[in-house]
């Protein structure tokens, strides 16, 4: 666990130095994953490698099991069969962060934003002075300008989700999961939050898995887009998004970006029609 934290700067260096991160040692290996809900088979002997230090977006038709996938990886839903390993270790042996779509229900309204962020450290039995120190360090590191003495219900939706993300990051996770984190926000806030997330990713280099229902968002944020087929889900495509970071509004109209987005859309529509 500790060795990894020491390693992180290197993986981050790798990422920025060589954008073509193909052939890098995978961080998460999923083998033979199966899951049924009632008579519906969502996953049937599903295999996937998630590369280290990359931001992977998961996109696919409705009900194909995007959220189910990250919920199984993050241990929120037990798979029926299969194995998910993080550098060969089980979920219980690693530190990870999870950001829910519904920030309103995921944060603790009885705690101030600061204590919400520090809560996971309490679960790790970190003493209160150290909790304060680490939380303050994270806040300073991310340059977040929110009054963290407020309670969540006193904040805007975007601010609350930012608090959720910081709560997930405070343990210095090896991997960060986000389940449609911005879909409950208005468009203006969504754009702002995309930028925040990209900045956080560039700062920390944490392997990130993001479920999105917005193709532009999925492509804009990702190093790779995991395009899933209808259930039982298969990897329809897993293209690399090579656009340089930090990506800006200009990236959206960049020829290569437009091409890869069109490609993703084509794959998506092919999968939707397959029904």
């Amino acid at each position: 666990m500790n060795a990894l934290q020491v390693l992180r700067p290197h993986t981050r260096g790798e990422l920025t130095a060589t954008p073509e991160t193909v052939g890098k040692r995978p961080h998460v290996t999923i083998r033979g994953l199966s899951k049924r809900f009632g008579s519906t088979t969502i996953y049937d002997r599903f295999d996937l490698d998630i590369p280290r230090g990359e931001l992977v977006s998961v996109f696919g038709p409705n009900g194909c099991g995007k959220s189910t996938l990250i919920n199984m990886i993050a241990g929120l839903i037990p798979p029926d069969a299969g194995q998910i390993l993080f550098d060969g270790r089980r979920l219980e042996e690693i530190k990870f962060g999870y950001v829910f779509q519904n920030y309103r229900e995921a944060l603790f309204p009885w705690l101030r934003a600061f204590d919400n962020i520090a809560y996971p450290l309490k679960m790790m039995h970190v003493d209160s002075a150290e909790r304060r120190k680490r939380t303050e360090k994270l806040v300073a590191h991310l340059g977040v300008k929110i009054d963290l003495n407020l309670y969540p219900y006193q904040m805007s939706g975007g601010q609350q989700q930012l608090v959720s993300i910081m709560r997930a990051l405070v343990v210095q996770p090896e991997i960060l999961f986000l389940d449609e984190p911005f879909s409950a926000l208005d468009y203006e806030m969504t754009l702002f939050m995309r930028e925040q997330l990209q900045r956080i990713f560039l700062e920390t280099g944490t392997t990130t898995v993001l479920v999105s229902h917005d193709l532009e968002e999925a492509v804009f944020l990702a190093d790779r887009v995991l395009l899933l087929s209808r259930h039982p889900a298969l990897v329809a495509d897993f293209p690399l998004i090579a656009a340089a970071r930090p990506r800006t509004d200009a990236t959206l109209s960049d020829a290569e970006f437009v091409r890869i987005k069109a490609h993703c859309l084509e794959v998506f529509q092919r999968e939707v029609r397959r029904a």
Binding site: L76, F100, N102, E105, A106, F108, P109, W110, Y151, Y153
Partner: protein
């Protein structure tokens, strides 16, 4: 602008209207003045009763009994409600029994409690506590059971143990519903206490005061005692609302 500023005064309109209507009715003698004294007479009776009179003592007695029964009900009801709400199986096993006794009018239990505790304060307080506790148990259990799923999952993902989830999330999640239970509980306790003071060989309390005034045909005093009981009920409810706002600041947000 001025209309906006006057808005907080709107509740006073209803109160003023009631007094005007009451004054007109008594002034025009539409109702036998023996049955309905004027507001001024009633106010005088209330004032003289509370200011060193017997009604002040009765008021304090009723407050004491209601507070004692609510306190007992809370001490028993909250932990039982948590235990019930925390385990689906325990809840399902006991749901019927508790719901049955909650549906039983607490006043029907008077004879039983009279046999157990005699005619003193213990009977009144314990019947009221019995009724209030069942209301509190149900609300607390309901609050614990209906803790937001996402919040429980969030705690779990952050590595909280089952016990941690119970104390850090479920308990706090159930607080708004616990206060609903306490408010309903204290209202029910007051109802039971006042009834008990009327009929269970009582020498004091607001219930006794209302009943005695009616027996003596002292109508101003009867109305005064009714108003005192009403004010007490309203005040207790308000007290819990203020406490909730103070301690459950996130409620309804």
């Amino acid at each position: 602008m001025t209309a906006e500023r006057l808005k907080p005064l709107l509740p006073a309109v209803g109160v003023a209207g009631l007094f005007v209507l009451w004054s007109v009715v008594t002034w025009q003698q539409w109702v036998d003045p023996v049955l309905l004294p004027s507001p001024i007479e009633t106010a005088k009776a209330l004032w003289s009763g509370l200011d060193g009179g017997a009604m002040g003592f009765d008021f304090v007695k009723t407050v004491y009994r209601t507070a004692a029964s609510t306190a007992i009900a809370a001490v028993i009801g909250i932990p039982v409600g948590i235990a019930l709400g925390a385990s689906e199986n325990v809840y399902r096993s006991l749901e019927f029994v508790i719901d049955f006794f909650r549906s039983t009018p607490a006043s029907a239990m008077f004879p039983l409690f009279l046999v157990l505790f005699g005619v003193g304060d213990e009977t009144k307080i314990s019947v009221a506590a019995f009724g209030a506790a069942l209301v509190i148990v149900f609300n607390v259990a309901y609050g614990v059971m209906n803790a937001r799923k996402t919040r429980l999952l969030a705690a779990k993902v952050m590595g909280a143990s089952r016990l941690r989830v119970l104390f850090d999330v479920m308990l706090l999640e159930s607080l708004p519903q616990t206060f609903v239970g306490l408010r309903n509980g204290v209202s029910l306790a007051l109802v039971i206490i006042v009834v008990a003071e009327m009929f269970i060989g009582s020498q004091d309390g607001l219930g006794h005061s209302v009943f005695e005034a009616q027996q003596l045909f002292d109508m101003p005093r009867m109305y005064a005692a009714i108003f005192a009981a009403g004010a007490l009920g309203y005040g207790l409810n308000l007290l819990f609302i203020l406490a909730e706002r103070r301690f459950v600041h996130w409620s309804g947000k």
